[in-house]
Structures are given as structure tokens and as C-alpha cells.
Amino acid sequence: MTEPSSITNPILKGRGVTKSYALGAKQIEVLKGIDLEIMPGEFVSIVGASGSGKSTLLHLLGGLDSPDSGLIEVQGRELTRMSGTRLSGFRNQSIGFVFQAYHLFPELNALENVALPARIARKSSRQAQACARQWLERVGLSHRLDHRPYELSGGEQQRVAIARALINQPVLLLADEPTGNLDSESGSGILELLLELRDACQLTLLMATHDQAMASHTDRIVRLNDGKIAGI
């Protein structure tokens, strides 16, 4: 008897992914053939030293950048073959991003920041704001709706960023050092929130971190060393 394809098939698949950057006349190989599979509902962390290619891999897996060679599939759809517009739409609907520097829009308040992906998806302002309000309540910021990013603490800003990443209910959340700018208490709060949301939303999470303690809370650890997977 075969299991349902949604369970057996990986939600994210990378095959022979390579990426290099030109630094003057020199070519720097950042990723040297990465093979990776993430199953639905998994919480996987990518660990490695600074410059090991964690962020680059995350950007490639999320379709923010294109690999030099190799294949990347999310939900069975090959990102490398998508046109720019289709890839943008796919990112908007299926992939959420959380960054170390939060990247909130300083001109917008928390509610407007969270509503942005829904507005990009052409939801009405009222619908998007109602949805954003629910997500901000969910991340514990119902009292901070009208606050601008500079009026929020680092932990609160990261919660806003998480709510923004999840408003369109993506299947995959990619987090690049989400606790990197936070103190240990706020960082633990963010990790707890991610674990809670993973369970509640049946989310698949991929987190790049250099913090071994953070990584130890995830289902699986992928170690990157010198552009290659050193261990799983």
C-alpha cells in the first residue's frame, strides 16, 4: 500500500545546487552541489560557520536567487523553470521569509506591515487588515497594531515579521538567523513561537542559524561546511 503523495513526497527538494559569485576576476564557489530534501511538517535547521553558504542556500531554496546549476522544487514545482512573474506569485502564496534584520517597512505600522503580502496578492485593504489583525493577535501583538517598527523591541519586530511571512498561509517558512539580532530570552520566545506555529499551521520550517542551542530544538540539523553538506 502506498502512502498519500503529500506525505511521501518532499515539500522541498534541491539536487546538485551550485552557486558561485564573482569577486573581481576571482570566482568564489559558495555552494558546491547541494542535495537536500525536506518533508512536509519538518523543522530543519541549517548550521554552519559564517560564510559557509547558509543564507545563499536559503535564498536559492526560496527562489530569491537562481542557482548556477541544479534543480530546486517546492511542492513539486521547479522554481528554476518559472518565469519572474510566476515565481513572484509563487513566493507570495507558498513561501514565507523571515530575516535576521526583520526588514520591516519603517513608514508602515505593524498592522500595515503584516497586511502587505495580502495586499500584494490583491486582497482588499479591509480583508488584508482583518487577516493581519488575526495574525498579530496570534503572535501576541494585538496591543501593538498601530506601532511603527521603531516603537517595537527587536523581539516584537521579529514577531511582526513572522506574522507577515505567514499571512498568506504559505506551506514553507524560511528563516535566516531569525534570532541573530536578539538576546537569548527574546530568541527563545521566537523559537517557541515558530515551534507553536509549526504545529498549529502544519508548517514546514527551514532555519539557517549558527546557534547550536537553537538548532538542537529542530527535528533535523543539516551541517554546511565550505559549500557542501557535511552531515545530516
Binding site: H59, G62, L64, D65, G84, T85, S88, G89, F90, R91, N92, Q93, F97, F99, H103, F105, L116, P117, I120, A121, R164, N168
Partner: protein
């Protein structure tokens, strides 16, 4: 020399005839059609001239002045358009990370382009509205301004003996307003197109890394 019509007729031996007649119209713009109807009625033995034809030299000079001012204004608007383009380029550079984030959130290149073009449209509408208001004020108070300048500079900016007017005449033609306002708005939006396309072309990962 000023004398009565009868004395003049007697002096020139004209009997009850005259050298010419002046016809005063309520609307000076109607001179050409009135001339045509007079010529049709009087026949080829009479010579009819409008006020524009009688003062052709001064009007030609005014047309040259008007064209020069038109060119001058065109270049001023062109310089302003370059100013808008350069401000928009600076704005795109300042907002590079935000553009990267918009793209990471799923905004298409077209949506990013439209954000920046919308900004040009808003700037253009405000600019045209302020310009229109200030322009109309300048027209309304042109003679007060002329008097002030004459007083301040001790120099006649609009000599009556050359132009034949003691005050600055002005006609506000709605058609001209539409052309000037519409043209300025179009130039303003076009000035923002190049930076907007540049913003749309930014690759998300490079934009996010921008310092």
C-alpha cells in the same frame, strides 16, 4: 494738428468724402470676419485693414518674444524633469532594501514599477496643482508686480511707448491651461519611468544585501 471733419475735407478738397473710416468693434477678435464681410460689401475699390495688419511689425515682434518664452519654458520644464528623474533615482537607491523585501514578499517587477510610477503621478499632480495656483495668482497680480518691479528697479519693464499698453494685458485660455498642465504631468510621469523600470529590474537577493 486737430481740426474738424469739415475743415479737413475742405483742406484736402474732398467734398463730402473722406480718406478712410475707422470701425470700432466690441470684440477685437472679430476683426478678421468683419473685414471679410466689409470687403464683400464694398468691393475691390476699397482697401480694408484690421488692427492686427496695421500693427504687423509690433505683433511680429511679440510673436517672436512669445516663441522665445515658449522655448525658454520648455527647457525649464525639461530641467525640472531631469530634477525629478534624479530625485527618483536617489529614492530608488535609498529604498533598494525595501524593494528587495517587496520582491521577497512576492511583489512582481510590474507591481514594483507601478509603485514608483504612482509616486511620479502623485508628485506630478501636486506639482501641477501648486504651479497652476501660483501661475494664476501671478496673472491676477501681474500689474501690481510690474509696478513693484518698476519702482524697485527704477526701470520700465514694459514700456508703454513700445507696446502701446499702460498695463500688462493677459488672456487665460482654458485650452492653454489644459496643454500646459497635461504636458507637465506627462513629462513628470515620463521622468519617473526610467527609475521605476530600474527598481523593477532589481534582483531581490541583491537588493536585500544592499547597504
Amino acid at each position: 494738428m486737430v481740426c474738424s471733419l469739415y475743415d479737413a475735407q475742405d483742406l484736402f478738397n474732398l467734398g463730402d468724402q473722406v480718406h478712410g473710416l475707422h470701425v470700432m468693434l466690441e470684440d477685437p477678435e472679430q476683426a478678421a470676419p468683419v473685414k471679410a464681410s466689409l470687403m464683400a460689401k464694398l468691393g475691390p475699390n476699397y482697401h480694408v485693414m484690421t488692427w492686427l495688419e496695421r500693427n504687423q511689425t509690433i505683433f511680429n515682434a511679440l510673436v517672436v518674444e512669445k516663441n522665445m518664452i515658449r522655448f525658454l519654458l520648455f527647457f525649464i520644464v525639461l530641467v525640472a524633469a531631469f530634477g525629478i528623474t534624479s530625485s527618483m533615482i536617489t529614492f530608488v537607491v535609498q529604498k533598494t532594501r525595501e524593494i528587495g523585501m517587496l520582491k521577497a514578499l512576492g511583489a512582481s517587477s510590474r507591481q514594483v514599477v507601478m509603485v514608483f510610477i504612482s509616486q511620479s503621478v502623485v508628485v506630478g499632480i501636486f506639482g501641477v496643482a501648486i504651479g497652476l495656483f501660483l501661475g494664476l495668482q501671478a496673472v491676477a497680480y501681474r500689474n501690481e508686480f510690474l509696478a513693484f518691479m518698476n519702482r524697485t528697479m527704477d526701470f520700465s519693464l514694459f514700456p508703454a511707448d513700445i507696446y502701446g499698453f499702460a498695463q500688462l494685458p493677459a488672456v487665460v485660455d482654458p485650452r492653454d491651461l489644459w496643454i500646459i498642465c497635461g504636458g507637465s504631468l506627462i513629462i513628470c510621469v515620463l521622468a519617473g519611468v526610467f527609475p521605476a523600470i530600474n527598481a523593477g529590474r532589481l534582483r531581490p537577493v541583491e537588493a536585500l544585501r544592499h547597504d
